[in-house]
């Protein structure tokens, strides 16, 4: 069979079935788009951190990483360079900062590198090194006058070009500096989206008060000398500095982003399922026509292989168009809606907002499109290979044996989910997958039960409409379509209820943690900058005596805190002053006695830590451990807490203990107790005035701080809300389109019924009834399974990551999702239903 003939057949077919074919393309495209966009969002963050690590370290093998934000002694560089086998050593100073230009502010990672050594580093630093001789003015700016190099998009976002001034806030100090040069995408590739600023080491040291200190030294080692160099480094540095792989930040981030990635992956999976069901719905609408077409071809004498070739061409065209449209739509969604949000993780990691599209995301989208196109186009395969019959076959419902197999499979999946819940909460994704499978497998039985229940309930009433609805719902020739429509709603509502419920519980837990932490001080003074939300940036304590003398201030206490790398976790360390009555957030203690633990933390030598961290190191109440702080400290476990909302975990000790362990008396915050009769808000203004307008400090009351934290929690969870809303909208659209088309295709039957004397209103109500039962059943089953999903996710969040979660059963969420989707879908379906019921009855007669 020639291709031109296949093309001609396709064109003829398209003329009569263009709308159905377009529906199929739209259905598959939306599914592909959802999957692609959520997959891109989940991979972008991980890759951006790894990309920056590679951009700095290139192919270097090791790094010496300071345990304190205040770095280690610079003299270590000289000693390291003398180790046999070390090819190159690249010193780096790193500090988080806030930069303000004429048109905006941005939080950045201020990187200090030495141009003399930069050639040994990754692409970012190499380019930094090239810029010096290539551009004399930049060179002079970067060497003789203080200036920084900025990626062009950042410079653009703050409105500062080359040789223009910007304000930097580092460690509670505000300084004016110049933008020496901007780095374009041609210079540093994808790293142009990284939130960084580059400057010579000495300048960053000066800006951040780290003169003579370094944050890291990256090392290139001669081949075969890695072990010897590692051993020499250990001897040289002792316990004060971490020796890690050069790209260790990517490992740390991957651990921290685990829960966020899991939730996004979960949504990607749910989006994929909704997408496939959506595509299946669309394809099922074209199946009857395609079935008739196959029948006609066989009648005309086409061989089986010719029919297969014709269908193969159909599938290929459908796949190609829907993939291209879907990926385009997905790209748009990914840019506009599913943005990779760094959120709270940016407090501890240099994350860019760059979208990174990998071949895997594209391939995944294409594969789903292929699956859906193939399923739809080849659905009439049975007709092709069955012996030819004069009557075209009808779609049958599930046979008795298949139903039993589905029921058994569903129960096994449900049992597997329960096993995951009880014994392997770490495998929550597996649990959710098996729960989804259970839902789909049990749906036929639950659907039939629901129709029977509706039939039972309608019996006392004489109305014919509900009866007609039951008849249609029991029609086995529509069964596959009905199940596909119900399954779409079920999966969408299931995902929505499970995630929304877990998210709501998590939000409540996080809010409680924030409240407990923030109310330890009535007025807070911290280094300015969005990156310092957790008060983890130390600053030089020069303002304390001034603040202590203010009339509204009763007492100024020193709070300390930072991030500390322990194993593969970047911990949040909180060190409230010993004077605080409740240094431990009461709502977050999961093990131990609050009064005893608080007293022990205040007394010193004791700390409370996240239970997930304790479990990882086999620690229990009273256990001893060595804290890997700049000066390793022997401590005991006073209590176990949640992770306070920071996925890698948290550790609380008292501020004096911190000063000893970190060998620094610098505070990360001042906690101010107002004098009696002075409101925190007025004391806050008083403090702000005393510090001066351009102090580089943020002064806020506990309540202001609490609200800022709530906002950052909401932002962190915002993407889930966006994806969830989109999935629900897509599912509602899919169900209404599919149901609407099914109703439209039934006009001849409606005309028949009218001819028999059934009024239009009766038929319209019957259609609404049928839609409500079908969609309501799918959505309610989805909501029910969603509650189980919520339980599973909550359990995983608490036991695996130690998030602060308020356990609840989201009945309200389940009811509202079920009611909203069902009501919207039925309301939308009411329109085609009304129009279909108005068909003229005479069309059922032929003259």
């Amino acid at each position: 069979m020639k291709l031109s003939n296949i093309l001609r057949l396709y064109r003829d077919r398209l003329r009569v079935g263009l709308v159905a074919e377009l529906l199929a393309v739209a259905g598959i495209a939306v599914g592909v788009a959802l999957l692609f966009a959520s997959h891109v969002a989940s991979t972008s963050l991980d890759r951006s951190v790894a990309q920056l690590a590679r951009g700095i370290a290139g192919n270097m093998q090791f790094q010496l990483d300071a345990r304190s934000p205040e770095g280690f002694d610079q003299r270590l560089l000289g000693e390291v360079q003398h180790i046999t086998g070390v090819q190159a050593a690249l010193p780096v100073v790193e500090r988080q900062a806030s930069m303000t230009g004429p048109s905006g502010s941005v939080s950045i990672d201020l990187l200090g590198a030495d141009p003399r050594f930069a050639r040994a580093g990754g692409p970012l630093l190499k380019r930094f090194s090239h810029l010096q001789p290539a551009n004399n003015s930049s060179h002079s700016q970067l060497t003789s006058q203080p200036s920084i190099a900025l990626p062009a998009p950042i410079a653009q976002s703050v409105g500062a070009g080359p040789l223009q001034p910007v304000t930097l806030q580092v460690n509670g100090h505000q300084t004016q500096t110049l933008v020496g040069t901007t780095l374009s995408e041609a210079d540093i590739g994808g790293l142009v989206h990284s939130l960084i600023a580059l400057a010579p080491v000495s300048y960053v040291q000066r800006l951040s008060g780290m003169t003579g200190r370094l944050s890291r030294i990256f090392l290139a080692v001669k081949p075969g000398r890695e072990r010897a160099v590692h051993a020499a480094l250990q001897r040289l540095t002792g316990d004060g500095v971490n020796i890690r792989g050069a790209d260790f930040d990517a490992t740390l981030f991957s651990q921290a982003a685990g829960p966020a990635n899991q939730s996004t992956e979960l949504f990607a999976a749910i989006s994929a399922l909704v997408g496939i069901l959506l595509a299946l719905n669309a394809m099922l609408l074209t199946v009857p026509r395609r079935r008739g077409y196959v029948f006609d071809l066989r009648l005309d004498g086409y061989s089986r292989s010719q029919v297969v070739r014709v269908l193969l061409f159909d599938a290929l065209v459908l796949w190609l168009i829907s993939s291209v449209v879907g990926l385009g739509l997905g790209e748009m969604l990914s840019v506009k809606l599913f943005r990779p949000e760094a959120g709270y993780l940016s407090f501890g990691f240099p994350i860019s907002s760059q979208r990174i599209v990998t071949w895997q995301s594209v391939a995944l989208g294409g594969a789903v499109a292929l699956l859906a196109s193939g399923t739809g186009v080849f659905a009439p395969l049975r007709e092709i290979f069955a012996p030819f019959k004069l009557e075209s076959g009808e779609v049958q419902g599930l046979g008795g044996r298949l139903r039993t197999v589905a029921l058994a499979g569903g129960l096994v999946c449900l049992a597997l989910t329960t096993a995951v819940l009880l014994f392997a909460p770490r495998s929550a994704i597996v649990g959710i997958a098996s729960l989804s499978a259970a839902l789909l497998l049990l749906l036929p039985v639950l659907f039939d039960a629901s129709v029977s229940a509706f039939n039972y309930l309608r019996r006392p009433f004489r109305g014919i409409s509900p009866y007609l609805a039951v008849i249609e719902l029991r029609d086995r020739s529509n069964y596959a379509r009905s199940l596909a429509i119900a399954a779409t709603g079920a999966i969408a509502v299931f995902g929505s209820v499970a995630i929304q419920g877990a998210r709501s519980d998590l939000k409540q837990g996080l809010d409680a943690a924030v409240r407990d932490i923030d109310t330890t001080g009535q007025v807070w003074v911290t280094a300015a900058g969005a990156f310092n939300t957790f008060a983890t940036t130390p600053f030089t304590s020069t303002a304390l005596p001034r603040l202590d003398r203010l009339p509204g201030v009763a007492r100024v206490s020193v709070y300390r805190g930072s991030f500390l790398n322990w194993g593969e976790r970047r911990l949040w360390v909180l060190a409230p002053p010993s004077s605080v009555s409740s240094p431990i957030p009461a709502s977050q203690l999961t093990s131990g006695d609050l009064a005893t633990a608080s007293a022990r933390v205040r007394q010193g030598g004791w700390a409370v830590l996240s239970q997930a961290l304790a479990a990882e190191h086999g620690l229990h109440l009273g256990s001893s451990f060595t804290l890997p702080s700049p000066r390793a400290q022997r401590m005991r476990v006073a209590g176990l807490i949640t992770n306070l909302g920071w996925p890698p975990g948290a550790l609380i000790l008292n501020a004096d203990e911190y000063a000893r362990a970190w060998e620094s008396s610098n505070p990360s915050a001042y906690q101010i107790q107002p004098r009696q009769g002075h409101a925190p808000a007025s004391v806050s203004s008083e403090v702000r005035q005393a510090l001066g307008e351009n102090s580089g400090f943020r002064v806020e009351t506990a309540s202001q701080r609490e609200h800022r934290h709530y906002a950052s929690t909401r932002q962190a969870l915002a993407r889930l809300t966006e994806i969830e809303t989109l999935v629900l909208i897509a599912a509602t659209l899919a169900m209404t389109t599919a149901m609407g088309t099914v109703i439209w295709q039934r006009r001849a039957q409606l005309a028949d019924m009218q001819a028999e004397g059934f009024r239009r209103g009766v038929l319209w109500r019957a259609l609404l009834c049928e839609s409500a039962v079908l969609l309501g059943t799918g959505c309610s089953i989805g909501a029910l399974f969603g509650l189980y999903g919520q339980l599973l996710l909550n359990h995983a969040l608490v036991t695996v990551t130690g998030f602060p979660v308020v356990q609840s059963v989201g009945v309200q969420v389940a009811l509202s999702s079920f009611a909203l989707v069902t009501a919207v879908a039925v309301l939308v379906i009411a329109i085609p239903g009304y129009l279909a019921a108005r068909v003229h009855p005479a069309i059922s007669f032929q003259d």
Partner: protein, 235 residues
Amino acid sequence: MLEFQQVVKYYGVGDGEPVHAVDGVSLSLNKGELLALYGPSGSGKTTLLLIAAALLTPDSGSVIVNGRDLSSLSEKEASSYRLQEIGLVRQSFNLLAGASTIDNAALKLFGTGASKTAAHRRVAPLLQRLGLEGRLDHRGRQLSMGERQRVMIARALSTEPSLVLADEPTGSLDSERGREVLGLLCELCRERELTVLLVTHDAQAAKFADRVCALRDGRLVEYEPDLTLAATDAR
């Protein structure tokens, strides 16, 4: 019982001249009479039947059923008339695929508000009479074509209508099965003294009627049974 008075119905075809589907037909049927309206395709016989079923309104003239002019009926009254006063038997028998034989037969009764038990009690003897007593719980697709048509006859007669309108009731059946089904329909109607308007282009079917009228190009013409039957037999 049923009277067509100078009924005219025409259809507009694009910008051209309107086509007269029915052109001044006057015809009356007495109670219990079985009249076959014979004519080739496009002669206007189904249009006339649709007018009698209050599914179309004539452009002029009137149709009187039991002394009531159908053109005076509102949409709601027309539906009620079709549901309770007439029985329709058609060429295509679109049974509800999800319903059993007995439920399909009782469908119109459910529409009148009858309970399931009452409706089943009413149609069961009819189905038995039509030879479907062993098929009551079967779904539509499990029935043969002839059986499906018998279910449609049971449905048409279930509300005990005074008038039965049959549009090519044997059109989808082979001649033997067609004769059998038509025989049953006529027998049942005669037993109940129902008035039947049977529209057909099958001269054999016309043999079952008390009276035959022929329609050509929308007008009543003289029926010539011998000629027509001879032509049919020769084929």
